[in-house]
C-alpha cells in the first residue's frame, strides 16, 4: 500500500519536474491586420506542436520543435526567452530550433528588449545570421532571396555551406543574398525604410498591448510559481510522512556475537 502511494507520489513529482521545462518563447500578441483577434474569431496564427495544428491564444508557450505560421493577414508577436521581441509578419512560416529559428518564408522584425542572455541565429536554406543585442529585419521570399536590414547593432551573416566569407552588417546597412550566391557588398539602408520599420513596430506593439518587461514575469521558472510550489509541497510532505511511517532509511552497523565459553 505504502509502496503504491510512494510510486504515485514519485510519478507526480516527475510530472511536476517535467512541467518545469522552460519555453523557448511566448506568444504575446496575435493580430488580424492591425487589430487583435476578437474572441470567437478564427486566429490567423497557427502553431504546429508535435504534429498537431493549433490556433493558440495569447500567452501560449512556444517550444523547440514548434512551427509557427501566420496567415495572409495574421501577425504574431513572440517574446523569446533569450531577450528578444519578434514580430512575425503576415505570410511567414518559421520553425523553432532552439536556440535558432529557421525561417522558411516571411518577414521577421527583431528587437532586443532586455539584456540578451544568449545569442540567437536566424537560419534559412542558404544563410545563417548571428544576432546579439540588436534591432533588424529579416526577410525570406518564396524563392529563397534573403534580405537583412540592420537598424541597430551588428548582424553577422554567413553561408550555410562554405562559398563566401562572413559579412558583417552594421546599423544602417542591408544585404541581399540570392540562392546562396555570394552577396554583393552591404548597401546603405534608406532613412524611409528605417522610419517605416520603426513605425511598424510601434503599431504592432500598440495594437497588441505589448509592454516591455511585462512578459518576462511569465518566463519565471515554473518551479518558482504557485502552480508548481503548492502541489510540490503537498507531494513532499506526503512523501516525508510515508517514509517516516514506513521506517525507510537504512543504517550501517556491526553485530558482534560472543560465545560464552
Amino acid at each position: 500500500m505504502a509502496g503504491s502511494v510512494t510510486r504515485r507520489l514519485l510519478i507526480a513529482g516527475l510530472w511536476l519536474a517535467g512541467a518545469c521545462t522552460t519555453p523557448y518563447a511566448k506568444l504575446d500578441g496575435v493580430l488580424a491586420g492591425v487589430r487583435p483577434v476578437p474572441p470567437g474569431q478564427a486566429s490567423p496564427v497557427t502553431v504546429v506542436h508535435e504534429g498537431e495544428r493549433r490556433t493558440p491564444p495569447v500567452n501560449t508557450s512556444v517550444v523547440k520543435g514548434d512551427t509557427l505560421q501566420t496567415g495572409a493577414s495574421g501577425v504574431a508577436v513572440l517574446t523569446l526567452r533569450a531577450g528578444y521581441e519578434v514580430i512575425v509578419e503576415a505570410g511567414s512560416d518559421i520553425h523553432i530550433e532552439n536556440p535558432s529559428i529557421f525561417v522558411r518564408v516571411g518577414k521577421l522584425i527583431l528587437k532586443s528588449v532586455r539584456r540578451v542572455t544568449e545569442a540567437i541565429r536566424l537560419n534559412t536554406r542558404f544563410v545563417s545570421a548571428g544576432v546579439e543585442g540588436t534591432q533588424f529585419v529579416f526577410e525570406v521570399s518564396s524563392d529563397d532571396v534573403v534580405r537583412i536590414s540592420v537598424l541597430q547593432g551588428i548582424v553577422f551573416v554567413s553561408p550555410q555551406t562554405s562559398g563566401w566569407p562572413r559579412v558583417t552588417l552594421t546599423a544602417g546597412q542591408f544585404l541581399v543574398i540570392r540562392d546562396g550566391i555570394p552577396p554583393a557588398a552591404p548597401q546603405r539602408l534608406g532613412q524611409d525604410v528605417t522610419r517605416t520599420t520603426l513605425d511598424r513596430m510601434a503599431t504592432v506593439e500598440q495594437a497588441t498591448g505589448y509592454r516591455f518587461g511585462q512578459p518576462w514575469s511569465r518566463f519565471k521558472p515554473l518551479w518558482q510559481k504557485p502552480v508548481f510550489l503548492v502541489p510540490a509541497a503537498i507531494v513532499g510532505a506526503a512523501t516525508v510522512v510515508i517514509v517516516a511511517k514506513s521506517g525507510k532509511g537504512s543504517k550501517a552497523g556491526t553485530v558482534g556475537i560472543t560465545v560464552p565459553f
Binding site: 514506513s246 521506517g247 537504512s250 543504517k251 550501517a252 552497523g253 556491526t254 558482534g256
Partner: protein, 228 residues
C-alpha cells in the same frame, strides 16, 4: 598466573551473562581465544544471524575459525526497531547456542552485541596442539601429552578420542582421563570444570614415528580436531 586468567575470564563471563540487551555503542566483545591464547578447539562451526526490521527478515551466516569464540557481521538495517537473533551450530549441525536482542536503530555506526546462551552441551578441547613428552627405555618409546576436555554448554554430552589415526604398524594410541577411564571409549561429560586427560602413543623403540598427527575427538554434539 593461569588461575588468575581463569578467574578474570570467569568474572568477565559472570558480568556478561544475560547481557544480550546491551544497547548500541556499548558493545562488549569478550574473546576467549585471546584470554586463553587461542589455545583451544571446539565444536563451534557456524553462526546464523537473522535481522527482522520493517517487516522484513534478512539472514547472514558466518563461520568460526579454529579457536574462535567470536564473530562479527557488518550489516545494514532499516531504521527503527530491529530484532537480532543468532543460532550457533556445531560441526555436526547441532544447535549449540541461541540468543536474540531487540534494539532501536537510529544512526550509522551502531554496534549490537549478542551473547547467546547454550542450549546443549559444547565440547571444548585444549590445547589446540598437544605438547608431547617422550620416554624411551630402550625397548618401548612413549609419547604423552596432557590435554583438557570441557563441556562449556548447558547439558551433558558424550565424547571419546578417535582411535583412528594415521600411524605406522606397531604404534598404539592411548587415552586416559584423571579417573583412569579409557577415553577411547564414549564417556559422558556434564557441564562444569574441565577434565584432565593424557593422550599418547607407544611403540617399539625401533619404530620411527613422531606424533605430528591430527587428533579427532568425537562427541555427541560434533567432532573436534586438534592441529598436528
Amino acid at each position: 598466573m593461569r588461575q588468575l586468567l581463569a578467574l578474570g575470564a570467569a568474572a568477565a563471563m559472570a558480568c556478561n551473562a544475560g547481557s544480550s540487551e546491551t544497547g548500541p555503542g556499548s558493545r562488549v566483545v569478550l574473546d576467549f581465544a585471546a584470554v586463553l591464547g587461542g589455545d583451544f578447539v571446539s565444536v563451534l562451526n557456524t553462526a546464523s544471524l537473522s535481522i527482522t526490521s520493517g517487516g522484513e527478515t534478512i539472514t547472514r551466516s558466518g563461520q568460526f575459525g579454529s579457536g574462535d569464540s567470536e564473530l562479527s557481521f557488518d550489516v545494514v538495517v532499516k531504521t527503527g526497531e530491529a530484532t537480532f537473533a543468532v543460532d550457533v551450530m556445531s560441526t555436526n549441525n547441532t544447535l549449540l547456542y541461541h540468543g536474540s536482542t531487540t534494539q532501536t536503530i537510529e544512526q550509522d555506526g551502531f554496534a549490537v552485541s549478542i551473547t547467546p546462551q547454550a542450549v546443549t552441551g559444547v565440547t571444548v578441547i585444549a590445547p589446540h596442539r598437544p605438547a608431547y613428552s617422550v620416554f624411551d627405555n630402550g625397548q618401548i618409546r612413549t609419547y604423552t601429552a596432557p590435554m583438557r576436555v570441557r563441556n562449556a554448554g548447558s547439558a551433558s554430552l558424550t565424547w571419546r578420542l578417535d582411535s583412528v589415526v594415521t600411524k605406522p604398524a606397531g604404534v598404539t594410541i592411548f587415552c586416559g582421563d584423571d579417573f583412569e577411564n579409557n577415553c577411547l571409549l564414549n564417556h559422558p561429560l556434564a557441564p562444569g570444570p574441565e577434565l584432565g586427560i593424557t593422550v599418547g602413543f607407544s611403540m617399539p623403540s625401533s619404530v620411527i614415528f613422531t606424533p605430528l598427527v591430527t587428533l579427532r575427538f568425537i562427541s555427541s554434539v560434533g567432532n573436534v580436531t586438534t592441529r598436528p
